[in-house]
Amino acid sequence: FMQRGLDSQTKKQLEEEEKKIISEEHWYLDVPDLKEKECCIIEERSFLSCEDLVYGRMSFKGFNPEIEKLMIQMNSKCKEEETEVDDKMEADVSDEEMARRYETLVGTIGKKFLRKRDQRVLKDDDEDEDDEVEEGNSNPRPSKRAKKMFLKPQD
């Protein structure tokens, strides 16, 4: 029953009465609790857990190559007792090459996120390097080296 406007006290009283009724109706055993013995014996009805049986699907002399692959997989699982085969996958790329590539990669991706001004500076630097390397090359675009200042328009 949902009765609105019931005081909290009367509510509590009602609840207590309900609980009493319920607990009196509940049957319970007057017997002391039986000690549960530790069962050290497990019962099993299957032979799989007792004997070490091989997987039931087999193929010989290449009759069904998929099943032959499966045989190797399943039987190696059983024999190794499910030890994780953490063999290092043969890497396609060696570690050194990976490190080299990564170095250059960081540079190129980093450039992408530079602001425009910084990109221009980078370009100058690159060109400087190029000039140093190439002998006897006239300086292209020397004006770009100096940062452009604001030129007041002449009247």
Partner: protein
Amino acid sequence: GRLLCGPGLRRSGAGLLVTKCGLLRHRAAGGGAYWVDSQQKRYVPVKGDHVIGIVTAKAGDVFRLDVGGSEPASLSYLAFEGATKRNRPNVQASALGVGDLIYGQFLVANKDMEPEMVCIDSSGKSSGMGIIGQDGFLFKVSLGLIRKLLAPKCEIIQDLSQLYPFELVLGMNGRIWVKAKTVQQTLILVNILEACEYMTAEQRKQALAKLSGN
């Protein structure tokens, strides 16, 4: 550790009772296990066993399979790898129909409920289970022979594998399915497997020598 008492033994009070006749076997590894190696032809479904079933009927979403037990087992059509409600198992270009052979394992198998089979393992992969292909020959042997054949490094299987290429599926319910290139080879394999239950190792080797001589 805990002791495992396997088929043929039952716990009663503090001791064990034997319920089947046979040889008592013991395994010391993994906490120790005892079981009775008995011989019988009639299969009783056990959870986790891989068996070969024959589809006898389709009832809505569920296939009824005959596994050689007292009741037909049920196999839901969703219990295959990669099956969804829209994508019914259509393996090997022939929808699963009555009379097909299925290799699966029991999910539920006790004396109070109807046995249920699935064709995927706990990780959701089929790992070789599912519909068994066309052709081939299905026959029944005793359960003891199946366990002998499934033992690791079984001599019979090793000898046979030297003969000619073939494919073999062993179900724990006593059913074996064999397929070789020609009908004659298949029948030879069937005869050897049926007979090797009662042949000694030497007799078997003689028979195989005759065959490979042919």
